[in-house]
């Protein structure tokens, strides 16, 4: 199965792919283009439609996985998924909406097999996912309590996971190592990040 991962870096892609493979129960292949990258939330939102269409029409991708950081945006709630309850500031709501819009817009392409998608939002940053089970305080719930109740921020998560100023190969090796740990028991992530990771898990299980 050829799966494109739209993420911020090659490090993120390496870790996410390990998790995706674990959830799908089979190894996935990258599509025949170099990694698809975003430069933070603004570029994910601006480019997701284009990325979707490009993969849909021009590449033999079976699926697209999108992961963005929530940063300081509201944490997704299941209530947002009820009709008319989508929250504009919620990044998961925004990404799901863009995907839905493109799915409805794109004409059925000849010889095109089903194009599957899975979208997740890491709260507050992807490093949080890869600390799951190692730092019990890092959860979506803890972040949702607001700045006063938090014991971590985006920078501390990076330092906790990689150490200060780790280079790209060091970060990638660490990300993959932690992803393999989590792949052995994916429920650790599901429990701590039920909205942002739960979303990607539920969608991948329908593939």
């Amino acid at each position: 199965m050829k799966v494109a991962i739209f993420s911020e870096s090659s490090t993120d892609e390496a870790g996410i792919r390990v998790l995706v493979d674990a959830i799908l129960g089979q190894p996935t292949e990258p599509v025949a283009v170099a990694g698809i990258r975003s430069r933070g939330w603004d570029s994910v939102r601006a480019n997701l439609s284009m990325v979707y269409k490009q993969l849909y029409f021009n590449f033999e991708a079976d699926g697209l996985v999108v992961v963005a950081d929530s940063d300081d945006s509201p944490v997704h709630q299941q209530a947002h998924e009820s009709p008319g309850m989508m929250l504009n500031d919620c990044r998961l709501c925004t990404l799901l909406s863009i995907i839905e819009q493109e799915r409805n817009r794109c004409p059925k392409a000849p010889n095109r097999a089903q194009f599957r998608t899975a979208v997740g939002v890491a709260v507050p940053a992807i490093e949080a996912w890869f600390l799951a089970g190692k730092n019990i305080h890092v959860t979506e719930q803890a972040w949702a309590r607001g700045p006063k109740g938090r014991t971590f921020d985006r920078r501390s998560l990076k330092n906790d996971l990689y150490g200060e100023r780790a280079n790209l190969p060091q970060q990638t090796a660490k990300m993959v190592e932690e992803a393999k740990r989590l792949a052995a028991d994916i429920s650790v992530l599901e429990q701590r990040f039920p909205a942002g990771f739960g979303s990607i898990l539920r969608q991948l299980r329908t593939w």
């Binding site: 870096s9 170099a34 990258r37 430069r39 933070g40 939330w41 603004d42 570029s43 950081d69 940063d71 300081d72 945006s73 920078r155 990076k158 150490g163 200060e164 100023r165 780790a166 280079n167 790209l168 190969p169």
Partner: protein
């Protein structure tokens, strides 16, 4: 380490202070004094600058004095190095303090300044053949690269292998750096393609490839200078390689993070790349924004902006800089 440089009537830097960290990246519009700010470091190691070349033509009446003050972290109390140029005589003078106890520190600073290297790379110089000598050094424009690589390979083969590995991670279309001796007895650089295993001579390589190889070589030098300045460090390189460029700078400045045991190098780089800037968001103390006024230019460290973390939020630093909200963008654009 230099903590700051103060400029007084120094070209466009009529009254400016450049704050410096162990690793500093300076961004700003063209003509905002980024390269000018590095000039005094060149003068300190023997570069030639006269009063007439230092004073902006538009400054009337011409100032009696041009002064640059270099502040050091090791100084307690602060014992800066002062360079000044007077209208007469038109020669730089280094102030020597009367206090003999300060002499050792002064001497050490003077020695450090002699090691400063400013790199403003040129593809032709990088690609040129070189006669290898034991004392060969990388030139300001990248000349002697083949000789420097040859010495690293001879003296520290494991370091050379690490350099090759990293280069091939940056540009995976290559799998080896070759240093053949040509018929004049000189060394040349050739890169072997991963697919097809044929070699491409340095003169046929892209500018970006040559710049990448030179930057990585600086980052892997066994005994690098104490202070390295990298002009337009992103020049010719793809935006996706900016993370690698940041890693190379950090390898010099924070060697322990790359498993190196040598002394840290102070790195000062200039850039126009928002993509490179993105990687410094977590270290606003390492970012300086140059601002161009009508007749002068100034510097401001990103960490000195009030509530900068709150302002930036989830926005990438490069996007924020490009937007203009942080300043440091060309007027009228």
């Amino acid at each position: 380490m230099i903590t700051s440089i103060e400029y007084h009537n120094f070209r466009v830097l009529r009254s400016a202070v450049l704050p410096l960290a162990q690793c500093t990246v300076i961004v700003g519009p063209n003509g905002s004094g980024k390269s000018t700010a590095l000039l005094p470091l060149d003068v300190s190691r023997g570069g030639d600058l006269s009063y007439a070349r230092l004073v902006s033509a538009g400054v009337q009446p011409p100032p009696d004095l041009v002064r640059v003050t270099i502040h050091w972290s090791e100084s307690t109390p602060d014992l800066p190095t002062i360079l000044h140029w007077e209208r007469n005589p038109a020669q730089p003078t280094r102030t020597i303090p009367p206090d003999p106890t300060a002499q050792a520190l002064r001497s050490r600073h003077a020695e450090t300044l002699k090691t400063v290297r400013i790199f403003a790379l040129s593809p032709g110089a990088i690609a040129a053949s070189v006669q290898v000598e034991p004392s060969i050094e990388l030139g300001r424009d990248g000349k002697n690269l083949a000789g420097v690589l040859e010495l690293i390979q001879q003296r520290e083969p494991e370091r050379f292998d690490a350099l090759v590995d990293e280069f091939c991670r940056w540009l995976p279309e290559y799998d080896r750096i070759l240093l053949p001796t040509i018929n004049t007895g000189q060394k040349r650089i050739r890169l072997r393609k991963s697919v097809g295993k044929y070699a491409i001579d340095a003169q046929d390589l892209s500018h970006g490839t040559l710049f990448a190889l030179t930057l990585l070589t600086v980052a892997h030098l066994p005994n690098p200078p104490e202070i390295v300045c990298l002009e337009d460090v992103d020049h010719g390189l793809h935006p996706r390689l900016m993370r690698n460029v940041c890693d190379a700078m950090y390898r010099l400045a924070f060697p322990e993070s790359s498993g190196e045991s040598r002394k840290p190098v102070q790195v000062i780089a200039t850039t126009h790349s928002p993509h490179l800037l993105d990687f410094f968001k977590d270290h606003p103390e390492e970012v300086v924004i140059a601002e161009k006024g009508e007749t002068d230019a100034t510097f401001r460290r990103l960490s000195d902006y009030p509530q900068i973390s709150e302002i930036l939020g989830g926005t990438s630093l490069g996007e924020a800089w490009f937007s203009g909200v942080l300043g440091g963008v060309p007027a009228g654009t």
